[in-house]
């Protein structure tokens, strides 16, 4: 049974709380029990609690499959890019190096590339993937376009990404704030920009504050 066309994956990084529930739950998925196929990225830990869950974006034209010399990586008809096929994978790491999102992982014990397959055992029978099921803040959301439009009126779904000269469209959507004009997220471009931090700004502190001030009895 294919993954229903009505059900889509939406990643909303603004909601990520860095809890790792997705990473922990991923290793409970029956297709790769004991191994987590996703990761949590810290953006700039010194200046922000911002984190981002990295799941497979399931590209319409998957770079991992395109660079595979053994033709081991297959996309199912419903658009889900699968882990490498065991008989074919030669553990060359091409996919690991080539994926612009940094998703495939090489299992060095079994010499097999494994990756997020949208919990195919679950999503292909109408269940939510493990990560999106447990995500406490619903930064990872699996549901219909109508649901996400109703629940997230402040943002919209984008599924085009720019990496240098390469434009990628994906099955998985990224939620971007409505005020952001772009319909394509320039990933490499934004890496050269200033990291938008989230620090205690001196202007919201009472100006008398100094580290190690001696205590005033009146306050």
């Amino acid at each position: 049974m294919p993954v229903s066309e009505l059900l889509e994956f939406f990643v909303d990084p603004a909601r990520c709380i860095g809890c790792n529930a997705c990473v922990q739950a991923c290793s409970e998925c029956d297709t790769h029990k004991g191994h987590s196929m996703i990761q949590l990225d810290m953006i700039d830990q010194a200046h922000s609690t911002q984190t981002v869950p990295v799941i497979c974006m399931h590209c319409d034209s998957p770079t991992c499959a395109e660079v595979c010399p053994a033709d081991a990586i297959k996309k199912t008809a419903d658009g889900v890019v699968q882990s490498a096929r065991k008989p074919r994978c030669i553990a060359c790491n091409n996919c690991v190096l080539a994926c612009p999102f940094g998703v495939p992982k090489m299992n060095t014990e079994t010499h097999l590339m494994m990756k997020c397959d949208m919990c195919y055992d679950r999503s292909s029978v109408g269940k939510k993937p493990m990560c999106a099921s447990v995500c406490p803040s619903q930064a990872l959301f699996f549901g219909t376009r109508e649901e996400i439009a109703r629940l997230r009126p402040r943002s919209r779904a984008v599924n085009a990404f720019q990496f240098g000269n390469q434009t990628i469209t994906t099955k998985v959507n990224m939620m971007v704030p409505n005020y952001a004009a772009a319909d394509c997220i320039d990933v490499t471009g934004s890496m050269h920009g200033t990291v938008i931090g989230n620090q205690i700004d001196a202007s919201v502190l009472y100006q008398g504050i100094e580290t190690g001030e001696s205590h005033h009895a009146s306050t």
């Binding site: 990520c16 790792n20 529930a21 739950a25 029956d30 200046h47 609690t49 803040s137 619903q138 989230n198």
Partner: protein, 753 residues
């Protein structure tokens, strides 16, 4: 007397913490479970629904419980990996007796022999020193049935005043404030009222890490147009996307709330009708905040004046609001006052008792709500009755079949119990669901008191750090090995279901307590055959009290996905939202929605006073403490679950770059934090998300990694909660420890199993 017969390393080598990982059956993706049990997470007060998968009497995994309304399948990492606490190599399968000749300090003994030994020691101590020489420390992670039984056990079987519980470290400030202001202590609303409110005010609650599912409620409100104000010394994950952040100096919340009320009055942002009709004492409170000008508020709180003015304007002009707070404002010597300050601005706004208008403390422990209602608190009887009230005593004495004069007078709080050990007034201790050596402040004092006891019996499923000092350790039950009810942060009573039987000699905790009563030859009132029977008695005992459970049955809880108390009869629907106009309660009896004879809520005048220990030249920085998401409280469970330990293996010190620069510290360096009570050496994280005058250390770890070596045992005068959130420390850079030194800091076994 109660002293480990051997080294901590030797005890840890045998009893852990060892780390569990998914192995064997738990990795078998073809496994068909014998049964799937709908139950709840064992950790925090949100009590997320979860389905446990059971094979051959082992919990082998979980499946999200999408139909449970509170969390709809969502879980934090603790919930995801909670199943790894079962079939754990550290699980106590026998009773143990301390044995100085044993290499690991203990030897196993038969369950019956252990119970007989406990009973004879209790008898000996009470014969020699009177009934109150025996004390009990209980816990709010137990089911309500067990909490009820513990209160009854102390008063009826032991006839001792001295019982208290670890909710003393958690919910008591909010509880006391709620009783003073509303006459009843429960979240005023279910979380459903958060979703469409216009303004969410969060004071001192690291929601993303301590109540993660609540994040979705807050952010859904924001999607629906709400503004979010966060008051915290740290930019926690919930603060990252808030609309207004107030970086308060720890311990100054009263000043902020008074300053907000001052501006509400000045700008006439008041609900005069509500104040007149439903409250008393507003004028006194208004007079008390006359001097709390924005500039003075800014000076005390360390928050810029314009941010305070903006917060007041948003709060003042909102049409609906939901105020949430947690331990951040409660863990103070003025914890009750802080909560009363929050309630004052809620009452002045008139935004309570209506749809999308609410107020709640976010309860921390699994049964933080139910565990504080039915009598394991030192001054309390079931149904939230008072042990000091003759009418209440007579009522409960009758239900228990004892003479009113045989019930002991109210006792003292959990920390005072240790001071009573110091004063030779308490000689024996029974603890259950409490690990005070990790969780109490100034824990070097706690250790000395444990060593001073004549007899100490600990009931637990793992050998927690405090149990290492016990004479007898009795193997109790894990969450999934028993059934019962708990009451969530929302006030929703829910059903915990048994997934597996207790292994080995382990018993359900209520059986252990009853076995001790029987062995003491004091079985009266302790002959229950099941938790259901205990609930039946509790329903009767709570009837007519403010926390009325009389309409609650196991069947209803299953069918209705929980029931909100008060629930006066089996036909009563329960009460998701308190204080709605026109509602009846047993105290007001129709006079109004609040739980006082006149049906009106109380404004309480509060005055800012500094924390017990302020910074000075010698100890110039503020230490504040808290939690991380992958661990729970004293870590007895989570420090044994491999994937959770991997996520956060060690505590650390958070330092702002301004302070770090002054001390020459960079991320990865080691530093020693020192207070007047102890020192703690940990790695440093330099972050701009904390106030420059404050450092933060999470508290889940024992021994030399325990921040509670530093914290102060000063307590709130009313609630007796310790001031975990503020004390004065100094900080200095130290060389990174060598491998040998690290091994000494980390004596616990880290063997992966």
């Amino acid at each position: 007397m109660a002293n480990p017969g051997t080294t901590i390393e030797a005890i840890a080598g045998e009893f852990g913490p060892h780390l569990s990982q998914s192995t064997g059956m738990r990795l078998d993706s073809t496994l068909v479970p014998d049964k799937v049990v709908n139950t709840h997470c064992c950790f925090c007060g949100q009590q997320c629904g979860i389905k446990l998968l059971v094979k051959d009497e082992v919990v082998v995994g979980f499946e999200p419980w999408y139909d449970f309304p509170f969390n709809e399948g969502k879980l934090c990492p603790k919930g995801v990996k909670r199943y790894l606490q079962g079939a754990h190599p550290d699980r106590l399968l026998h009773a143990y007796q301390r044995d100085t000749n044993s290499p690991n300090g203990f030897r196993a003994l038969g369950y019956d022999e252990a119970i007989a030994r406990v009973a004879s020691e209790i008898q000996r101590i009470q014969d020699a020193h009177g009934p109150h020489a025996m004390a009990c420390l209980s816990g709010a992670s137990l089911t309500t049935e067990k909490c009820y039984l513990m209160g009854k056990f102390a008063r009826v079987c032991l006839k001792s005043s001295n019982i208290d519980y670890n909710g003393r470290l958690c919910m008591v400030s909010a509880g006391a404030a709620n009783k003073k202001a509303f006459g009843v202590d429960r979240a005023a609303n279910s979380w459903a009222d958060i979703l469409k409110t216009q303004l969410v005010w969060i004071s001192g609650a690291n929601i993303a890490e301590c109540a993660p599912i609540t994040t979705d409620y807050v952010w859904q409100a924001r999607e629906n147009g709400a503004k979010v104000i966060v008051v915290d010394p740290r930019i926690t994950a919930i603060a990252r996307t808030c609309d207004l952040f107030l970086p308060i100096k720890p311990g100054r919340d009263v000043a902020l709330f008074n300053g907000i009320l001052h501006l509400m009055i000045e700008n006439n942002w008041l609900d005069h009708d509500f104040i007149a009709k439903h409250t008393v004492n507003f004028d006194e409170v208004a007079a008390g905040v006359k001097d709390c000008s924005p500039s003075r508020t800014a000076e005390i709180t360390g928050i810029a004046e314009r941010a305070i003015r903006t917060a007041a304007e948003w709060w003042g002009e909102a049409q609906s609001s939901f105020l949430l707070h947690a331990r951040g404002i409660e863990h103070h010597t003025h914890g009750v006052q802080n909560c009363l300050g929050a309630i004052n601005i809620v009452l002045a706004s008139g935004r309570i008792g209506r749809e999308f208008c609410g107020y709640a403390t976010i309860t921390g422990q699994a049964n933080g709500q139910g565990g504080r209602e039915h009598g394991q608190k030192c001054d309390q009887l079931p149904g939230w009755r008072d042990l000091g009230n003759p009418e209440h005593r007579a009522h409960i004495a009758k239900i228990w079949g004892v003479a009113e004069q045989d019930l002991p007078p109210p006792g003292v709080d959990a920390y005072e119990i240790f001071r009573k050990i110091d004063r030779n007034e308490i000689k024996g201790l029974l603890s259950i669901c409490f690990n005070p050596l990790v969780s109490l402040p100034d824990n070097n004092f706690v250790r000395r008191m444990l060593q001073k006891l004549e007899f100490y019996v600990a009931i637990d499923f793992f050998m927690n750090e405090t149990a290492r000092y016990a004479d007898i350790v009795l193997p109790g039950s894990l969450h999934e090995e028993d059934e019962g009810t708990v009451t969530t942060a929302e006030g929703r009573v829910i059903k915990i279901n048994k997934a597996v039987e207790c292994p080995g000699d382990a018993r359900e905790d209520w059986r252990i307590i009853q076995d001790i009563a029987k062995s003491l030859n004091r079985p009266h009132g302790f002959t229950f055959d099941s938790p259901r029977e205990i609930l039946e008695e509790l329903r009767v005992a709570s009837r007519g009290g403010v926390a009325d459970y009389s309409g609650i049955t196991y069947e209803r809880l299953e069918k209705e996905h929980g029931v909100f108390w008060p629930c006066y009869s089996e036909e009563h629907p329960g009460t998701p939202r308190l204080f709605e106009p026109g509602t009846w309660n047993p105290v007001a009896n129709g006079n109004g929605p609040f739980y006082f004879p006149d049906g009106k809520a109380r404004f309480n005048a509060i005055t800012y006073q500094p924390p017990a220990e302020v910074t000075d030249a010698e100890y110039p920085y503020i230490l504040t403490t808290g939690r991380v998401i992958s661990h729970f409280l004293s870590g007895t469970q989570t420090r044994r679950i491999g994937p959770l330990v991997d996520q956060c293996p060690e505590p650390y010190i958070e330092v702002h770059p301004e302070l770090a620069g002054k001390l020459g510290l960079a991320t990865g360096d080691w530093a020693t934090a020192e207070s007047r009570r102890g020192t703690c050496t940990l790695p440093v994280r330099v972050v701009t998300t904390i106030r420059p005058d404050t450092i933060f250390i999470p508290y889940h770890w024992p021994g030399r990694k325990s921040v509670n070596q530093l914290t102060i045992s000063a307590q709130d005068a009313i609630s007796k909660i310790p001031e975990y959130k503020v004390c004065a420390v100094r900080l200095k850079k130290v060389p990174a420890p060598s491998a040998e030194e690290l091994a000494r800091i980390e004596p616990a076994a880290r063997v992966e199993v």
